[in-house]
């Protein structure tokens, strides 16, 4: 803060203050006010974010169990040693990463197409923008249950449509029962639900691109594709990165849609479901906390990768 003030300083007294490493009294009071205003927020964040995180890390070194009436003992790294051997957890990481890759890729490309269409001028654009958000507005638990019924092999409309109406299939396919299709089936639900959100973020990015850039390009004789590649994509880059960060982190933590559609089926069990299962269903607070810490670390890797990438982009 003092650096930004420095060039403006002219009087000898103030220069002396800065040389002593201090600030002007005006700056000092501003700083104090800033801290005073920030303190409640920082305390709240410490209470609702940092305290639970530290508590989780602490519990991951104990054998705490829910409602057992026994005082937890410190067990050192045992939970983490178990976790390193845990095949189920490894499978769940792989499942989560696959789910993330599928959904983020599809959501991004579909969302981009929708954003471009909606950004163009046509009649009823306002209505389209609103209608587009319907899947995003439905609570996930409800839409997951709805899709579970639609996928059903006996009375589900999807099979009815494919078998009887368009006759692509000879017999109904149990999309959510077969391990070969289950992950794709739930990914499709997530894509259906979240693409509008991606489209909205990208649309916001598209709307800040000034019109005159396109006009200039048009005068220079650039065709539609050239304008898209040379102008739209580079100027949309910040919005794209934010969108991808949002979606990747969300997808890595996915819980509700899969939990409703599959419960704790081994072939679709994600990291979050495995952690929840251990803590709630198995009462194993210690081990569940260790899993949570591992998830935290895995997601942190993705965040660091993205942020580093962003920094490289900026410079």
């Amino acid at each position: 803060m003092s650096q930004s003030v420095q060039p403006a300083v002219s009087s000898g007294e103030q220069v002396a203050n800065i040389r002593r490493g201090g600030m002007t009294s005006f700056d000092q009071s501003k700083t104090r006010l800033a801290w005073a205003l920030l303190t409640p927020t920082l305390l709240l964040i410490a209470f609702i974010a940092i305290y639970p995180l530290l508590q989780t890390i602490y519990q991951s070194f104990t054998d705490a169990r829910l409602a057992s009436g026994v005082t937890p003992k410190f067990v050192g790294l045992r939970n983490y040693q178990d976790l390193a051997q845990d095949v189920t957890f490894r499978t769940s990481i792989w499942t989560t990463v696959k789910f993330t890759a599928i959904t983020v890729v599809f959501e991004f490309f579909l969302g981009l197409i929708i954003a471009l269409v909606i950004n163009s001028n046509f009649k009823g654009r306002g209505l389209m923008r609103t209608a587009m958000l319907v899947p995003w507005a439905i609570p996930t638990v409800v839409s997951a249950q709805m899709w579970k019924w639609m996928y059903n092999d006996i009375y589900g409309p999807i099979n009815d449509f494919l078998v009887r109406k368009v006759q692509i299939l000879d017999s109904p396919v149990a999309f959510i029962a077969q391990p070969s299709t289950s992950l794709w089936a739930v990914a499709a639900v997530d894509i259906w639900k979240t693409t509008p959100f991606v489209a909205l973020l990208l649309l916001a990015g598209l709307q800040v691109i000034p019109e005159d850039v396109y006009e200039a390009a048009e005068i220079d004789g650039a065709n539609g594709w050239q304008r898209f590649v040379q102008i739209t994509m580079p100027l949309l880059r910040p919005a794209i990165l934010v969108t991808l960060i949002f979606r990747t982190l969300d997808a890595l933590r996915v819980f509700d849609v899969i939990f409703v559609m599959f419960g704790s089926r081994p072939d679709t069990q994600t990291m979050s479901i495995y952690a929840q299962n251990n803590i709630v269903a198995f009462s194993d607070l210690g081990y569940g906390s260790a899993i949570s810490v591992a998830i935290f670390a895995i997601i942190a890797v993705f965040v660091i990768a993205y942020v580093t990438f962003l920094k490289v982009e900026e410079s």
Binding site: M146, A177, F282
Partner: protein, 550 residues
């Protein structure tokens, strides 16, 4: 007290939604949970309150007067609007909240139009059917929802008059109405106030709610409904009922008492039961002159024959539908397959026994059903989907719990066209059914344990067991009550199933690790049904379980 209003509104909403289906169904019914959660998501604060538990209805005397204003609308809502209740389970989840909202509006415009006890005779349809049955039995049984039986232990219980209890009970449907009516009667006769609070619709959520109470050693709950597989896990937090209810326990079905006894402590008293049974379409069996199957092979053959014959008229018809998803219900199904084939009951004490030739044989057979006599999707089915297939007229044979009897009787496609039999067996083994159902327990952290035990004594007595069996379809856990003609009239399936051996899941041997053990097992069973090798899966599961019990 200021916070009272929110939980009440929220619980009422949940109650309304859930009222659309039967109370017994909703416990397992994921749709119900979806509807409830979907609604809750729009009011997160209220949802959190509901998790912690809210007041559904307060049946207090003088001392509870301050909560009285919120009582009238909420009880009124639970009993008043009855139209269309039975059609709801088949409509979409998205439709449910709006239906609930409409009903909430109806209820709030006419508060007190029907409060439990004053008895305007307006009960939900499901309850209506049940009470109608009771009445048609020619006045032989006089107690109805409006006039529950008196409290036999009133004299003894009066010494605790003025105590206040919180009872975690059914939140929905007839179960809730019975609980509210009985609690009111208990208060009237003893002066002990009972606050009936609806537990979450799904068993898994109820489990974690109790866990939080116990973790905090909270006195906010005194009496609670406990699933048959929970006594061992919750035993450290529950009161030993042996001293006061030990004599009464001798009259109940012994296998349940054994199940509820942990280290010599009776931690839960049997409330009502459940067991697996085979539903079949008697019209179709007759049409193809097929006898009711006694063995799994007969079932398989009969299913294939009927499905083949009906191909022209109903290409969607399925032979045999059961609960094959990877969840607790599959553990119940697989236990029945294995126990009825002489393969034991999963664990024998601390020994893991399910990896044996009989079990491998029947599991391989079950794998063969999937995609032939059973639909391919069965490996993702829970009770909900099973019931939909049957009541929609799309299944010949179904394995399900007693609650489906009433649903099937109300559905146009199955009304009077079905019957119930014991589940098939392999060879000459006796037929079995996995035990489900609920117990009443008293929290160790209760501030009024004596009053709470008296309440449990009343709620689980033979009189009330019969009252609940006749006024709802709750399976009694006293043999004397099960043999009662009034009860058999309302639950005709009890007679067909008197020969069935009731097998319990190994919740006592696994104790607090039961959920983990069951997960290992149902994940293995599900993998087998999905095509994996039975022997390899059982071998692996046995190893994991052995580590858990040692």
């Amino acid at each position: 007290m200021t916070g009272e209003q929110r939980p009440t509104t929220e619980t009422t909403r949940r109650q309304l939604i859930s009222d659309l289906a039967s109370g017994r169904l909703s416990r397992r019914d994921f749709m119900m949970r979806a509807a409830a959660l979907g609604l809750s998501a729009s009011a997160i604060g209220a949802f959190l309150a509901a998790c912690g538990g809210g007041a559904t209805a307060t049946t207090g005397t003088g001392s509870g007067a301050s909560t009285a204003p919120s009582t009238a609308p909420s009880t009124g809502a639970s009993t008043a609007p009855s139209t269309g209740a039975s059609t709801a389970p088949s409509t979409g989840a998205s439709a449910a909240p709006s239906a609930a909202a409409t009903r909430a509006a109806t209820a709030s415009t006419a508060p007190g139009s029907a409060t439990a006890g004053t008895g305007a005779g307006a009960t939900a349809t499901r309850a209506g059917t049940a009470t109608a049955t009771a009445r048609s039995s020619g006045g032989a049984y006089q107690y109805t929802l409006q006039s529950p039986p008196p409290v036999p232990n009133a004299a003894q219980a009066k010494q605790y008059s003025g105590a206040k209890l919180t009872y975690y009970a059914d939140a929905t449907g007839i179960g809730n109405q019975l609980d509210v009516a009985l609690a009111q009667k208990f208060t009237q006769d003893t002066g002990i106030a009972v606050n009936v609070v609806g537990k979450p619709a799904s068993a898994t959520e109820t489990y974690s709610t109790y866990q939080r109470f116990f973790q905090a050693q909270s006195a906010d709950v005194d009496v609670m409904m406990i699933d048959v597989i929970w006594p061992a896990a919750f035993a450290p937090n529950l009161l030993d009922l042996n001293a006061k209810l030990g004599d009464q326990a001798k009259k109940a079905i012994p296998s349940i008492i054994t199940n509820n006894t942990v280290d010599g402590k009776l931690v839960g008293f049997p409330f009502f039961g459940d067991f697996g049974m085979l539903y079949y379409r008697k019209d179709l069996l007759q049409k193809y002159s097929v006898a009711v199957p006694k063995t799994w092979d007969e079932l398989d053959a009969a299913a294939k024959k009927i499905v083949e014959g009906e191909k022209g008229s109903n290409p969607n018809l399925q032979g045999f539908v059961f609960q094959g998803n990877a969840y607790e219900g599959l553990t119940c199904n697989a236990l029945e397959w294995i126990a009825s084939s002489g393969g034991g009951s999963l664990l024998d004490g601390k020994n893991v026994t399910f990896n044996n030739p009989q079990a491998i044989a029947i599991l391989n057979k079950a794998k063969g059903w999937v995609g032939t006599s059973a639909p391919k999707g069965v490996t993702s089915y829970q009770e909900d989907e099973t019931a939909q297939a049957f009541t929609g007229g799309n299944a010949v044979f179904v394995r399900n719990w007693p609650y489906m009897y009433q649903l099937a009787q109300e559905a146009a496609a199955t009304k009077d066209k079905f019957d119930v039999a014991p589940l098939p067996v392999t060879g000459t083994n006796p037929p079995v059914g996995t035990v489900g159902g609920w117990q009443l327990g008293v929290s160790k952290y209760s501030k009024a344990p004596d009053a709470a035990v008296e309440f449990v004594r009343y709620m689980t007595s033979e009189e009330i067991s019969k009252f609940r069996a006749v006024n709802g379809t709750y399976v009694p856990l006293y043999q004397s009550v099960a043999d009662d003609p009034d009860v058999q009239k309302n639950q005709p399936f009890l007679k067909n199933l008197s020969s069935v051996q009731r097998v319990v899941r190994p919740s006592n041997a696994l104790g607090a690790n039961y959920n983990q053990g069951s997960t290992i097992m149902f994940q293995a069973f599900n993998a087998i049904l999905n095509g994996q090798d039975a022997q390899a899966q059982l071998q692996a599961a046995q190893g994991q379980l052995a580590r858990l019990v040692r």
